[in-house]
Each structure stands twice: as C-alpha cells, then as structure tokens.
Symmetry: C2
Subunit: 614 residues, 2 copies
C-alpha cells in the first residue's frame, strides 16, 4: 500500500501514513493536541484543521458543519479527512479558544465552552415558493451553522410570540441565543460580542461574585458582601431551624439571598461599565444548606439524621424563575452537591483542584464551622464533613472573633511574644489562625501538655518557656495565658487564652483530624502516601501551616506538602461558568465522590477522642 | 445444532427453532403481532411475554425492566430471551393495551401510549448508610421501573420544593407523574388509575372537546360550543385583521378561546362526574389561524402574501403557561401545521384517515370557507387550500344561512319540488348543502346552462323541467328560481335562488375543483387513479354526493367512491391524545406533506376559470 507524508503545522513535524488513513488517526497517533469531542463520529464538527497543501476532498457530510467561507479557506474536519496525497495541515488555530484563569497564585488553562451560545445568522426571506414558517427558517439556518450535534431546536412560547416582528424588523439578520437545543432569544443584528456571565460562591458568611466576559474568559470585576442571612443565624444549623419554621422562614432566607445576589450584580456591572442584560448565565457554588436556601428548597432534613438533601444533582433554572436581575431568558446553573454536609462548594473546589484527575493522592481541607475534607486521586475520591464547631471562626472562644479588623491573626513565641493585628489597630480579640498559633506555641514551649492542660510542674517546661512564665495567670479558678493586657487592647479588657479556649480548639481540631484519619483508612493508605495537602477557603489561606501541623490539625508528616489554594470554590464556579464541560464534570465528580458519614463510621468516637490530643 | 419447539399461546402455533435463537427472532419470523419499539436493542422493555413452560433464565439487564412480581410470574422480554429448551410462551396479554375508537361509523384500533405516565413506586427510606437525596432515591426507583429508555430525569423546581414533605407524608409510597424525562408531579399513594385527557378541535365556527380516560382510552363525554371569537369576525381573515391591531386584539382573541376551552372542560368533567385535576394532557387541532390565536401567536403574516406562519412544528406547553384549568402541571400538546392555510386540523384528518400509510391514492376534501384538499398515499401526499369563499356556509347568498334550524338543507326535483328543513320548522333560508342540491337540480333539468345562466330558450330544457317553469321569476331585473313563496317562509319573504347566488356557488366550487385538478397534476395521475374520496367536516357530512358531483365540485368519475368521515379532525386530536406515537406521526405528516400554493401554480387562473363551468 502506498505511503504519503503529512506535514503538521505549526509544529513542523512530518509523519508517514498509509494511503486512505484518516487525518484523525494520524494526529492521534502523533499525539497532536486536537480534541475529538464526539470521538470522531462525525457528529460535532469540532476537529477543524486547515489543509495548506495537497488534495483533500470535502464530503457532503463534512460540508454540513462548515460555512462556505471556511470550505474555501481549506478548512476540513480531521475525522472525515482521508489521506490520498502528501499533505500539509495546520492544526492549532482551529482549536476552540483556550484561556488562562487565576487559581490562587497559579494560572489555570480552561477551554471556553459556554453554556449559552450566540450565533449570527442571515436567514432567507420568505416567498410564495418558500413558505417555511418563521421558526422553521430560523432553525434550518441555525442547525446548518451549528457546531453542536443538534437536530431539533425548541422554542419558548414568549420567543415565538415576538419572532415574526423581530425577524422582519431586523431584516432577517439576527443573533440567536441558544442553550443546548433551546432557542432562548433572538436579537437584531450581530450581538455575538456581547456575552457576560457571573460566578457566585455563596458562603455561610460571605458571598463573592465574579463578573466574566464569556467570549475570552476575562474577569471584569469581583464583588463581595456579607451573607444577608447571617442576621437570621450565624451558621447552617440555626438557619436550617429558621427555614423550617413554616413557609415564611424559608422564603425570608431565599429572598434575602436573591436580593443580595441582585445587588452584587448591580455592583459588578457598574464597576465594569457593562449592561446586566448581557449576563446570560450565572453559576452558583455553596454548601448544601446555602444551595437549598438559594433555590427555595427546605434544608429541614439536612438538619436532622440521616441528613438528607432534597437534591444533589445539578439544577438549571431560568433567571426569571428565581427573579435574578440578569437577562430574563438567561440560565442559573447551580453546581451539584455530594451530601447533606458536603456541598457544591466542595464540588467546586474539587473541580478547581482537578483532584479527580490527579495521578497523585491529594488531601483537600476546607476549614470552617464544618470542615470539608476530601482525599484521593483519579481512581477514587472520598469526602467527609467534620463538625469542627465554630472555634476556628472565633466563636465560643473567650476573646474570640472573626478574622476582621482588630483580630490577632498571627502570634510568634520567638524569644519574646509578638503578634500581628488585622488592620494594624489595637487588638480587640483573637481569630482562629491566632488561636492556632497560640496553642501550637504553648505546646511547643512545653507550657501545655498533649491533653491541652497547662503544666504546673516547672521542670517539664522547655528553657525557652522562661520568658513567658509571667503570662500565666489565674482566670476563673483555672490557669490561663495572658496574651494582651488590658492596657493594650481596644476595649480595655485583657485578651486571654483560657483552658476552656484550648478545649474548644481541641474539639475542633480533633474533629478535623479524625476525619482525615478515617478517610486515610477508607482509602487504605498511610499519611506518607499523600503527595499534597490543599488548604482551601479563607481560613486555610490565613493559618500558619506549622501551627496547624504542630497541634495535629493536619498530620505533622504533611507539613512540607501544604499548599494554600485560596477561594478555590470561587475558581470552581468560574470554571463551571466558562465551560459547559467543566459543569458536566462537576456532576460526575458529585456523583462519583464517596461520601463517608463519620458519625456512623465504626470506632468513630474512639478515633475522635484520640484525635483531640495535641 | 439442536432444535427446540416453541409453542405460542394463545394462538397455539408451534415453531421449531435452532438452539440459542432469540424469542424475538422467532416471533418475528412467525409474524406474531408483538412490537419491538426499540428494534430489539434491549432498551425499551416493551416486548413482554410470559414463559408458561420451559427453562428460561432472566439476565440482569432484563431484570432492570421488570418488577420483582413480574419476574416471579415468568414475565420476560422477548429480545433478551434465548431458547435452550422446548418452551411455551404467552404473547398477547403483555402487549401494550389496544383500544378501539370510533371514526365516523367505523371503529379504529389505537394502541394507548400516553404522553404522561403515572408510576407507583415504593421508595427506600433514608438511613445513615443510604444518604441519597430525596430526588435521587425517587429517580433511582423510577428509572429502574421505567419501561422507557430513560437514564436521567429532570425535576421541576416547584416539585422539588414540596418533595421532602410529600415523600415523608406519603410514607415513601408515591405515584410519580412523568412526561418523557420530566417528573411533573408526585402524589401520595397509588393514583395510577386516575388519568384523564381532553382532545379539542378548534374550528373557526365551533369548538368541540372530547374527555377521554387515558388508561383504557374510553370517551367519557363530548362537549361543544360556538367559537367565542366569531363575535370579532366570522372568518379567519377578519380575525387575523382584528388580531393584528396592536397587542390587545390578539390577547382578546386568545383569552376568549382559553376561557371557552376552560368552560368546555368544566362542562365535560361535570357531565362525566370526574375531577378536572386528573386531566394531565390536552391536544389541540385547528387551522393555522386558530392554532396561532390559541397560542397567542400573531397570525398577521399568515394573512398576507406569502402567508407565513410563526411555527409549524408541534408545540408543547405547560397548562399553567396557557392558564388552562386542568392539572396545573399537565401538558398542552398542539398539533403541527402544514402551511399558513393548511393547518393542524388537516394534519389531524390525515392522522385519522391514515392516508400517509395508504397503499391506495385517496383524495381528502374538507369543505369550508377555505377548503383543504389533500391527495396521495404512502409515497407522497400533496395538500392545498382553496379559497372557496363563504358560499358553502350560506354567506353572500341572497337567502343563505348556516346549517341551523330553519335552513333548507336538501332539495329534490323528483317530479315535484320538495325540500327538508333543519328542525322541521317553516323555512327561513337555505344552507350550503341545499344550495348545492338546488343548482345541481336546475342544471340536471336543463334550466341553467354550464355557465350557470338561466336558460331562456324553452327548447333546450328537458321535458321534466315543465313542472318547474312556474318557479322561474324575475328578481332585480334577472331571472331567479322561487324555491319557497313568501306565504310558506317563517319571515314572510320568498326564498330565491338568484343568478348571483349561482355565481357565488360557481366561484366556491370552481376554487375547490381547481385545487383538486392541480393536485392531480402535481401527483401526475388522472381522476380514475383515485381509489377513495374522503369528505371531512360538518359540511362534507351533510352534502349530497350526487349534487356535489353534479355541479363538478367533486369530479363526476368519483361519485361512487365518496365516503363521509365526519369530524375526522376531532378523531385525529383524540388519536394524538391517546398515543404519543400518533402525536409524533402528526409531526412527520406535517413535515412530509408537500404544500401546493395554488395562486402561484402555473396557469392557475385558467384552470380556475374553466373549473367554474358547471
């Protein structure tokens, strides 16, 4: 059989192939980076290449996917193209666009595959010889131009009602806005360049929104606000209780969230100087309770054993159904949940970290009132939720506060006691990361023991502890560590680390550490097998890894493997917004991650009790 | 290879087959009437049979489609079943139900395949070891029990909002109402027996509704009313003009129709003593203008050349979207159109007459202000609309009236003049069928000539005409035929057939006859090739075929082949309601029928002019 030479540009590689081979086979074997989304079945029209030299014929099937102009330019589909001469082929330029987005301080590549597509069409005018309906002539054109494997389009009745006038006013030149096989909107003239979306990360405490341009994937503005539901309850449990009080509780919480999202949209479009009517898609990540409250679903049964959510699968709704002030025909795409206490925010983090595709075993920790933990790699991922309680957020700590202005966020016991205060003001209290540093420091100095008790015997302390002996005071009949005296605080009261504070931290870290241990057991691996620890979320970003490992919140063996990944849930929401395939991947992550219910895990109480040791 | 014997019950036939043959192959070869909707791909679970004797193993794949009870009863899927022993198999009882429905005076078989399905499920209770969401556990069960090839179900947000409470109140025993892959509703306990639908035929003048039970296909009641839009215009042109006056005209006409439909629903359910909440589906057939007005779509561009509808494809909407007073999650299924003047009513007629599957060439005529004509068989169907004008409905005729009480509907010139009056009262006027008889009779007697003129030369008349000479009178300077003198009418004015009346009838019949001629030309056949003439609609049901052929409305050669089929549009709407496959077939009929635009047909004016000869 004859052989021909294929020159692949711009790489310049040459490959010899047998007569009649398909170009797809050739490119695959040469490991050229070209995607075949439909597996080479001739259905998606995406494997576009340009034949620079050589004879290649276009088949009728192939022409269905190409515009006249493209055919003239030598564009072909690699899956249809058979080689019967030496050819030169250009690959890269006809790939769907790739864009970088920022994840923590690391750039990530994402291929833009928007949920909502805009296509400009020039449709044929009707005549007595062409009596197709308005809808029919629009669809015929759209289907012909479509790169998707769409054979049938669906019309919305509102769209149909305005279709005849819109078509005629626009003189048959239109931009169609489609979502899968639904035609959502038609706009006069070519508006394909106007296409925006927003990604939202709804945290229990904070809501963050990212306004994105959807053709290039550029971030236009970032906005955030306090979750307005906090005034009805600081944590998911109190909000669940509030929402379960008849219908009005749930409606109150949902309305507050929708209003807040709408305000963020206003702020984001004003910042960027764009029109909210061009926002056609938003994605939503949040824990299962926030997810339910956003959708107006009752979180009641998440709040009681066996902690059952209403739905875990992805939910897509119309903007109008939820009263979101974006383009009224736009779509709201809510990310899926894993379980009652491992929500869409964790799915978004897994999406951003690509743990589901990782060759290495990684451990992801998102610390909050509930700490979500995921462990595994491409073969298997386990996840659990550890009821850490509010200690990490400063609640139920004698001088505790959130990581806001006035909070001591880091403490050093290096020869003398020093600390930093958020905002550089007089300290008002201590936040989670500060408490972690304090307890880790006291432990390191031998001033508290493994059980978390202040040590009375002078002899057991390290020599370095001498400098801090004066800080040990009596508080309510027990020892305490005086961090800041009353003269130096903003409110004139001292800031102490009490025995009780240490207990609270032990409970919190014990829950997290037990969760990690159990996931390691489920995965059947030891700590050493973990190649990377990904610390997600605001708290994860602030804590001192040395302190976290010092008190055993994270296994000590992993101290050198810790990486802060910032608001990875937000990044995941952005990925799901920019790419319909990433959104689909979120669904498969949510469905494939195995949720581990800690409370029913054999021996949990023992493991938890042991994990409380510092 | 070994042979085994298969005994097929209840037919009692025995077939010898080779070892390892599938039962599907065996039944197909034996031409046993069992459907394989998915082609035997093991996807639909519909080819159920019961193994009475012999050893057959159930595969896991097969079990996916069967309930435990069914497996115990020996139910198998023919496509999965391989024969490794002599077996006895019962076929008929496990077929989807077949029911007869009445078409004119002829029974029709229809396989019930409802659009909306109810399935009773007993779902597993959640536990700490089974943390699936409420939605997930419902879907898992539904998909397992489903006979359809459904891999994914879609939730409505309203349904999700009530799902947790409904599930728990019903103690996990529910009936799910599904439409394709959408779960529309869940009802506590087993409500599968409560399933109703209504089929509507929206005529320009009359609206008819049929209330059907959807498990057995039984007709529960029939209701009808005058189309409430008649007060805004008697025909489609005046209504189109009314609807094109700003937004409010269209809304007025739509609201009037919806209100009327809702009143008919009330009347139908009261007659039958059932609950409107159990109506889950309605189908709508009507001409393209009625179709548009029902959906709130502008008929404006149907009313002007080149007569373009907004949409021809089937439209499915939620009951709530159109404010139809049925179950609020039910579906409104609107039949598709062929063109601006050949609408969903014609599609419904073709569905009912099965012309699209006919070996013989048939001619369907539906006479009204616009007469729809279809010609052809399974290979090709042509359709056109003839602008007959209102003469057949009694309008623009000197003594014309609708076919209501007081109308002369039939006339005989057999020796003496006799006529029948609807309602048996004193005559008030003449309706279309009466006019047809009058003109046909006068022509037959030689009292009018082929041009429609009253004959002045005595000699040309037939001897039988002598008896009627006295009826020839002068009216407004022209001859006329005195049908009833003033003493015998209800209003004291004579009922005449004027020269102008004859002209009007000639115009109407000429348009129809020209349409038939052109379709014969398009089909490339002669009149003799037509095996049957199907006369649809109320007028078609009343006219005297001999008169219709006498004046050339229908070619004389076809007189013996005429069959009245009554309200076939209503029958088509019923078929589309009872069977999702019939509704799909309507779409393929609408898409495949070739519409012929008479006005632009070469030589139309000539053909029309010639067709006016009597």
């Amino acid at each position: 059989m004859k052989q021909y030479r294929v020159l692949i540009q711009p790489e310049g590689r040459q490959i010899d192939v047998q007569e009649g081979s398909t170009l797809m086979k050739t490119l695959k074997e040469a490991e050229i980076d070209l995607d075949f989304p439909c597996g080479g079945g001739g259905k998606c029209g995406k494997c576009r290449v340009r034949i620079l030299e050589g004879n290649v014929e276009s088949s009728d099937m192939e022409k269905r996917f190409l515009q006249e102009k493209e055919i003239q330019e030598g564009i072909h589909l690699a899956c249809f193209t058979k080689i019967y001469s030496d050819i030169s082929v250009e690959v890269s330029k006809y790939n769907p666009s790739q864009h970088n987005i920022l994840l923590a301080n690391q750039e990530m590549q994402v291929k833009i595959e928007p949920h909502i597509c805009k296509k400009y069409v020039e449709i044929e005018k009707p005549s007595l010889g062409d009596h197709r309906s308005d809808w029919n002539r629009l669809c015929d054109k759209l289907i012909k131009q479509s790169l998707e494997d769409i054979r049938k389009l669906e019309a919305d009745i509102q769209l149909l009602r305005k279709l005849p006038e819109t078509i005629r006013e626009a003189k048959y030149n239109l931009t169609a806005v489609t979502y899968g096989c639904e035609v959502l909107e038609i706009e006069g003239s070519d508006t394909t360049q106007r296409m925006l979306g927003m990604a939202f990360d709804i945290g229990t405490t904070t809501v963050v929104g990212y306004l994105m341009e959807l053709n290039e994937g550029k971030e236009l503005s970032v906005v955030s606000t306090l979750n307005p539901q906090t005034k009805y309850g600081a944590d998911v449990i109190t909000r669940t209780n509030f929402a379960s009080r008849g219908d009005s509780g749930l409606k109150t919480l949902q309305s507050a969230m929708i209003k807040s999202i709408n305000n963020l949209i206003t702020e984001a479009v004003e910042k960027a100087g764009v029109d909210r009517g061009d926002i056609y898609a938003i994605t939503i990540a949040g824990n299962t309770c926030m997810h339910h409250l956003f959708l107006g679903l009752s979180p009641r049964y998440i709040g009681q054993s066996p902690y059952i959510p209403v739905i875990s699968e992805p939910v897509v709704l119309g903007a109008a159904d939820l009263h979101i002030d974006m383009n009224e025909v736009g779509k709201v795409l809510v990310l899926p949940n894993i379980a009652g206490f491992v929500g869409a925010d964790t799915v978004a983090v897994l999406l951003a970290t690509e743990m589901d595709a990782s060759e290495d075993i990684k451990l992801m920790i998102d610390i909050g009132t509930n700490g979500e933990i995921a462990l595994g790699g491409k073969d298997k991922l386990f996840a659990c939720s550890a009821a850490a309680g509010p200690a990490f957020e400063g609640a139920q700590i004698s001088s505790g506060m959130r990581g806001a202005v006035g909070a001591i966020d880091h403490i050093s016991f290096d020869k003398t006691l020093s600390y930093s205060v958020i905002g550089g003001v007089k300290p008002q209290g201590i936040c989670g990361s500060g408490l972690l540093d304090a307890v880790a420091g006291l432990l390191d100095l031998g001033m508290i023991d493994k059980r978390g008790n202040f040590i009375s015997q002078e002899k057991e302390k390290k020599p370095e502890a001498e400098a801090f002996i004066g800080h040990i005071v009596q508080h309510e009949g027990m020892k305490a560590f005086l961090l800041v005296d009353e003269a130096s605080t903003s409110h004139g009261r001292p800031i102490l680390i009490t025995q009780q504070d240490i207990r609270q931290l032990q409970l919190a870290k014990g829950a997290m550490a037990a969760g990690i241990k159990i996931l390691l057991e489920k995965q059947g691996i030891s700590v050493e097998d973990v190649k990377e620890v990904l610390l997600a979320g605001a708290f994860g970003n602030y804590l001192n890894p040395h302190s976290a490992c010092g008190i055993g919140l994270i296994p000590k063996e992993l101290e050198g493997k810790i990486k802060m990944i910032g608001n990875a849930a937000g990044t995941g929401a952005k990925l799901a917004l920019l790419s319909a395939n990433q959104y689909k991947r979120a669904a498969s992550i949510a469905a494939s991650v195995e949720y581990v219910e800690l409370a029913s895990y054999p021996g949990f109480t023992n493991i938890f009790a042991k994990s409380m040791y510092l």
